[in-house]
């Protein structure tokens, strides 16, 4: 099929690439450039490739595949860019344009379809995953499997990720998860809690603690049924239509209740919710509803700070704490101060900032599974800086980052002395909530 240049320009958002003046200011902050040192894997390089498509200089679109696949989508480049290039948006449309044309091999196509359309958005499927983890851990199978070394032979290095899973919650407990919590003391806000699909299946406990902390800080919390996956993994993989469908389902679900904020505890999901307005901007029926949704969307740290923080937080004096911010929280939601303020409000905390904290850990959604080697190079950089802090606790604010940091700790053989926790877990510990 021969396409007109106009169409390609439209589809790849060529006009947005024109605000890139090729100054290179984004190079030092791009994790894939820092680890590969090749311009092809830099933001400036990627934007130029898209530009070349728009100028008709690249006609074989497969040239873009590897460079775009290897992008983490961390969007640190956007924060560094002096001219405000909308990299995230260029990346998303370019990926969608490539996916549309790409002829996946049959099994991959099936896997993509199953994962994106059926698994992530489905509560039942995600529950099965969560339950399997629980059974697996509690039955002692996990220990046995680890001993045999079978895990190492799993495809896509899933074995290594398995090592990072812990504290799964029993199916019974997950079912009992409260759908409401009342504010302790004077009520400050009414909030709806966004559970997230992976977060809920694998880190159910963190969700439970989040609800408790919100109540503790003075929020009436509602957990709305019918909510679904945020759609971030879909959007980042070029499955834009599916992402839009999920966004609409969420918007409709959350419109049912009149709340002050829609609170999430996963930096990546939060970023997606934060951009529903962009995602649906061209849809007359949904644009305003999406904008209203986005206006209410907050990270849990923002809401806790807005409530005036948490009372009586106490640290363990033996511990030294560092913080690995979620890229999507920093670069998309632009939430940077609140998690630090909460940590620093813990009395007696021994906090050390990490060098290059804003550099991605290499987790990036499912990047670490698909682009394992590139991801591990990036993780090695991150662990170098983590180790330099001498911290015994690494705080994150996103499930992907949490798994990745746990994996980093395992790889460095530091599991006995260092633990990775979600901010919520650490705050709960400090507040004496279990």
């Amino acid at each position: 099929m021969k396409e007109s240049l106009e169409e390609l320009r439209e589809e790849f958002q060529y006009n947005k690439t024109n605000s890139c003046v090729q100054c290179g200011y984004c190079l030092p902050v791009c994790p894939t450039y820092v680890t590969t040192r090749i311009e092809t894997h830099s933001p400036r390089g990627r934007i130029n490739l898209v530009k070349m498509v728009g100028e008709g200089k690249i006609t074989d679109l497969s040239v873009l595949e590897e460079p775009l696949d290897l992008c983490l989508g961390c969007r640190a480049c956007e924060t560094a860019c002096p001219t405000g290039v909308e990299y995230g948006s260029i990346l998303e449309s370019a990926r969608a344009a490539l996916v549309k044309r790409k002829k996946f091999k049959a099994p991959v196509r099936l896997l993509r379809k199953t994962m994106f359309q059926n698994v992530f958005p489905s509560k039942t499927a995600m529950n099965v995953i969560g339950n399997t983890f629980w059974l697996y851990e509690k039955s002692g199978l996990q220990k046995a499997m680890r001993k045999t070394g079978i895990m190492k032979k799993l495809p896509y290095h899933l074995g290594e990720f398995e090592a990072t899973m812990s504290q799964a919650v029993s199916p019974a407990e997950r079912k009992q998860a409260p759908s409401k919590a009342k504010a302790k003391g004077e009520k400050k806000y009414t909030v709806a809690f966004f559970t997230g699909c992976i977060m809920d299946a694998m880190f159910h406990r963190i969700n439970r603690l989040s609800v408790q902390l919100l109540a503790e800080a003075g929020c009436d919390v509602i957990v709305i049924p019918n909510q679904t996956c945020c759609g971030a993994l879909h959007a980042h993989s070029g499955e834009i239509e599916e992402a839009k469908r999920l966004a609409k389902q969420n918007i409709a679900a959350f419109e049912q209740e009149n709340v002050d904020f829609i609170v999430n505890n996963a930096g990546g999901c939060g970023a997606m919710l934060h951009e529903y307005d962009h995602l649906l901007a061209d849809d007359p029926e949904w644009a305003d509803r999406a904008a209203a949704f986005t206006a209410k969307s907050r990270d849990i740290s923002q809401v806790l700070v807005a409530c005036g923080g948490l009372p009586n937080l106490r640290s363990n004096p033996e511990e030294r704490v560092t913080y690995q911010p979620s890229c999507h929280m920093t670069n998309v939601q632009k939430v940077t101060e609140e998690p630090l303020n909460l940590l620093k409000s813990i009395s007696g905390i021994n906090f050390v900032e990490m060098e290059q904290a804003n550099m991605c850990c290499g987790s990036a959604g499912i990047y670490n599974i698909i682009n394992y080697d590139a991801s591990m190079d990036i993780l090695d950089e991150k662990m170098k800086h983590t180790k330099a802090t001498g911290a015994s606790v690494v705080i994150t604010t996103n499930p992907g980052c949490l798994i990745q940091m746990k994996l980093g700790i395992e790889r460095e053989k530091l599991s006995d002395s260092v633990r990775a926790l979600h901010l919520v877990e650490y705050l709960a510990e400090a507040a004496g909530i279990s």
């Binding site: 003046v21 090729q22 290179g24 090749i38 092809t40 070349m52 200089k57 690249i58 040239v63 001219t83």
Partner: protein, 469 residues
């Protein structure tokens, strides 16, 4: 047609044992641009940290007459690293192993791929300073700075890159490794090849190591912001202060267009009705500074400043300099294409140049923003346009040519810091005269008999014109 054949690639691969040889389409496109204009695909991109391998590659290129382009981080604004005739790009940004500060000799020894900002940091850790400070320091390599003889705001008091280089290791276009200069500030042994290589834009050889001079870091600095109702008055204030015996470290100008652009981009409370502001930084001993600051403020009032602001603390100081920093990003929000010129005039001619620029702006009806290192005569007239608008770009071409003419007529130069590259080559003869240009060509011919080292730069091709559309 590719100038590099498959058998050349085989030979290149056999030479490059420690690095990478990139030939994929995606890689070739990714090394086809710089911070200026145009897309030129190299046949192959090579990355290696080994100086011996680089020298062997140049020998091969010289034998086979394959063009070679040294490249740093491609932030050049004049087309310096563009592979305009195909061939090999040597990516020297990976050659970044050496960064030594020798306090006792007040020198630094560096590899070409080291980022300039990392040299600043390393020197500062030892209480020293490497003064050249192009605003691209945190992304440009010292190799690129040396080849372009880059400078920044501090050029006013401290000079530019060439004033701090005392020795180089260079691969000649025939593939030999030579050393120029040394570790001493004084050195008069023979021709000064160091200074010839600096600013040669990669046309005379590849820099593989440099010895740089350092200074003790001044103990304190102060800032002044002066607001003017006339751009020409601001120009006079600059000349006045400079002839009063005070030598500021920096003296930066922002015209009305840039003030307005910054305020629209991020409101900082700048006076949008003023025609210009100047920002001055003085450095030295704290006691001397107190005096000089007062004197400079009085001089500004004397030539008609509407207001003078002296920040009281570091935060306020940072706020003032932030305004200057935001000019570049702010102006491209107006229209996407930025033609960044750096024509430079003698300090005494700054007011005339300001007036000429305003005339040119009106004559061609272009969006012209003037800001920059006014103190050293290096104004940055930036034209903000849209490269998709062909009619507008024609006017821009004419305006650029006229800016160059104005600078040369006032006794100045085409380029104060960005270099000639491809963009300004057509104007060389206007400044140098036919004999001056020919002497340079002869030097090039002797160094590079086969014209393989960064061909297509500095020297105009027959009939070459500035083309932006």
């Amino acid at each position: 047609m590719k100038v590099v054949t498959p058998s050349h690639i085989e030979e290149i691969k056999s030479i490059v044992k420690t690095g990478k040889v990139l030939t994929d389409e995606s890689d070739r496109f990714s090394y086809s641009f710089d911070g200026s204009f145009g897309t030129f695909l190299p046949d192959v991109v090579i990355q290696t940290k080994s100086v011996e391998e680089l020298a062997s590659l140049v020998k091969l290129a010289n034998r086979e007459k394959i063009p070679v382009y040294p490249r740093g981080q491609a932030t050049s604004l004049s087309g310096g690293p563009l592979p305009v005739k195909g061939g090999m790009v040597l990516d020297l940004s990976v050659l970044d192993d050496v960064l030594e500060i020798h306090e006792e000799d007040l020198i630094a020894v560096v590899s070409p791929g080291v980022l300039t900002a990392d040299i600043h940091k390393a020197a500062e850790k030892k209480g020293l300073m490497y003064p050249p400070d192009p605003s691209s320091s945190h992304v440009s390599t010292i190799g690129g700075n040396l080849a372009e003889n880059s400078g920044g705001p501090r050029g006013l008091k401290y000079g530019v890159t060439k004033d701090y280089v005392i020795g180089l290791e260079v691969i000649t276009p025939e593939g030999e490794i030579i050393h120029t200069g040394g570790r001493t500030v004084k050195n008069v042994t023979g021709y000064d090849l160091t200074k010839l290589i600096v600013g040669s834009e990669g046309t005379l050889g590849i820099i593989t190591k440099a010895i740089l001079r350092l200074l003790p870091k001044p103990p304190a600095s102060e800032t002044i912001m002066a607001v003017f109702d006339s751009l020409v008055d601001a120009g006079s204030a600059i000349s006045k202060i400079l002839s009063s015996g005070i030598l500021p470290a920096k003296m930066e100008l922002m015209d009305q267009a840039s003030i307005v652009a910054v305020e629209n981009y991020e409101p900082l409370g700048l006076p949008v009705d003023a025609e210009a502001i100047i920002l001055i930084e003085l450095d030295g001993h704290p006691l001397a500074l107190k005096d000089e600051i007062k004197q400079a403020a009085e001089l500004c009032y004397l030539v008609g400043a509407r207001a003078v602001r002296i920040p009281k603390n570091e935060a306020e100081k940072a706020e003032i300099w932030k305004a200057r920093k935001l000019v570049s990003p702010a102006i491209v929000r107006i229209k996407p294409t930025k033609i960044s010129e750096d024509a430079t005039v003698p300090r005494s001619k700054i007011p005339q140049m300001c007036a000429r620029l305003q005339e040119i702006r009106d004559k061609y009806n272009i969006h012209l923003v003037v800001f920059g290192h006014a103190g050293d005569g290096n104004l940055h007239p930036n034209i903000i346009c849209d490269k998709n608008d062909i009619e507008e770009m024609r006017r821009v071409e004419q305006a650029v040519a006229e800016i160059f003419t104005a600078a040369v007529e006032l006794g100045g130069t085409l380029s104060g810091e960005h270099g000639i590259g491809t963009m300004k080559a057509p104007f060389m003869e206007m400044e140098l005269g036919p004999v001056g240009l020919d002497m340079m060509k002869r030097i090039k011919k002797v160094w590079d008999p086969n014209n393989i080292m960064n061909p297509g730069k500095i020297f105009p091709e027959k009939g070459q014109k500035l083309e932006l559309s």
